[in-house]
Amino acid sequence: MTGHAPAKRPNQLFRNLNSKIASIPMILIAMGIFLGGSLWTILYSFTNSKLLPRLSFVGLDQYERLWSTSRWIISIQNLAIYGILSLIFSLVIGFLLAALMDQKIRFENAFRTIFLYPFALSFIVTGLVWQWILNPEFGIQGIVRSLGFENFTFDPLYNPDIVIYGILIAGLWQGTGLVMCLMLAGLRGIDEDIWKAARVDGIPMWRTYLFIVIPMMRPVFITTLVIIASGIVKVYDLVVAQTSGGPGNASEVPAKYVYDYMFQAQNLGQGFAASTMMLLTVAIIIIPWAYLEFGGKKRG
């Protein structure tokens, strides 16, 4: 009853041993793939690796070449147009649909099912359907022309100037349902009493939305924004299916550039540099958000 330390003090390493064993895959993935893999790619982006990764450093050569390649410039421009428009439209449409859905309507489930089903489909399927609908001969342009408007032109997938908008239409069709769902969840999270108070005070509904509800939903908007944005940077399959980057290379995007250089053109260095630029883009989006979201909480 006296001894201060019985001999079997468990070794700290073996405490929760099963838990540690069970976490090995997580630790390997987090450290080995996510952290290690990213650092590896960044490191090799400073080399002149071609067919195989080689550690012969060439400084910023790959980046200089990247930014002087017109295909990369087009990719970045496309990503910017697609990204900004897709953010604006999906947030606006998503919120409007959610606000309409929140009016205690009948058939809410049916409407939600319809708005969300495209999200269950792959980008490949999405891209191929819209490729068909936007087909100038048989699709929308063909139909409007057959109605007598002979000069009607709507062939985004065959016009280098507007091809990215054709992809945008398909992207919005696939993704707005998700935004609507997130917004609706946010709206449902708003205290019922807010609505009662606004009604008693005689504030019109649109004003309540604009000046009370939307500011209250700031966290939902920010989270949605981050989700859409990080998805946009990855956009790849949609372009491959809908246009294969064409006509010419008018609808190229960075993710496709990376893939093509890594696995088709056997120019790994370029692929690594381009993917590091993608990482940088995501970091610019994520870091301020993570700082706001989590930095504040720790202090509080």
Partner: protein, 313 residues
């Protein structure tokens, strides 16, 4: 209606000074066709039409013969329904040298899907359970890195994974692809399970420990039976996610093991031969069928899954 109620109240003996008996009384009459309702349901219906249109176009196109497609427009219903395109898409469409249709890709996808779903959910649920109930020094740090990893574009990590799999001798094999799906499914699934297990009453876990149950016993006998809904949610996420994957399929499989999405893209976007739009649409529908079925069957759970995965991510 208003008249009748007024008549009834006159005899009810109200003090006419205190209560305005002829005024509004009872439930306010509702008009079904108010301006608000017309606008509300009008807008929703037009939006619904827009979302349904591509599905409709796919179906009608896939049921038409090629001559009819060349004649008419894509929205018109088929004059003569034919299932020929479906048969061709399933069994005869060509990719490269193979002409045995999408069926090959379908079975490849099934072979990829089943082990990937099982392994990724098992690994992630155990990690989530460990994070929720058995924290150790550093476990939260690893988890944070994992979650940050969810935002890193796959393109950044994909080549190191190729090298790792090649070193392990599983590059291009089914095992390799299962590992890849497990890796990239980890962040979202671990988060899902961790949050779920953390939401269960911690006293249950304490009670089980006092009863003498260890790590695996608590997981198998206490946590698992209480967590069936979240496992279903995870399955929905993974089945649709893995079935719809294209990038990993292209990078990590060989042509004879291509999953359905890759094969579909190759069929539709192949440059040789005459474009058979009806076959293409039938093939597209076939590829979309599995996630669509999952979606329509699971309904609210699907929504819960993406909401849980997205809002908290």
């Amino acid at each position: 209606m208003a008249n009748i109620s007024t008549l009834n109240t006159t005899g009810a003996g109200f003090d006419a000074v205190a209560a305005d008996v002829s005024g509004p009384r009872g439930r306010r009459p509702k008009r079904v066709l108010s301006r608000r309702n017309i606008i509300l349901y009008g807008v929703l219906s037009i939006a619904a039409l827009y979302y349904l249109l591509p599905l409709y176009v796919m179906v009608v196109t896939s049921l038409k013969g090629m001559p009819e497609i060349r004649m008419g427009n894509i929205f018109s219903p088929p004059m003569e329904i034919t299932f020929e395109p479906w048969v061709k898409a399933w069994a005869e469409a060509c990719t490269g040298l193979n002409c045995d249709g999408l069926s090959r890709g379908f079975w490849n996808s099934v072979q990829i899907l089943v082990p990937s779903v099982v392994v990724s959910i098992f690994v992630a649920s155990v990690s989530g359970y460990s994070l929720a109930n058995w924290r150790f020094k550093g476990s939260e740090l690893f988890f944070s890195i994992l979650i940050i990893g969810a935002f890193i574009p796959y393109q950044v990590m994909i080549y190191p994974v190729v090298i790792a799999l090649r070193e392990l001798g599983v590059y291009g094999t089914l095992t390799g692809l299962v590992i890849v799906h497990t890796i990239f499914g980890m962040p979202i699934l671990t988060l899902l399970f961790r949050n779920y297990f953390a939401s269960l009453p911690v006293e249950l876990f304490k009670a089980a420990r006092i009863d003498g149950a260890g790590f695996w016993q608590i997981y198998l006998r206490i946590m698992l039976p209480m967590s069936l809904p979240i496992f279903v949610v995870a399955m929905i996420l993974q089945v649709t996610g893995i079935w719809n994957d294209f990038l990993f399929g292209v990078v990590f499989t060989r042509p004879d093991t291509y999953p359905m999405t890759v094969q579909l893209n190759n069929i539709v976007n192949s440059v040789q031969g005459v474009k058979e739009y009806n076959v293409n649409m039938a093939a597209t529908l076939l590829t979309g069928a599995i996630p669509l079925i999952v979606y329509f069957v699971s309904g609210r759970l699907f929504v819960r899954g993406i909401a849980a995965g997205a809002v908290k991510g």
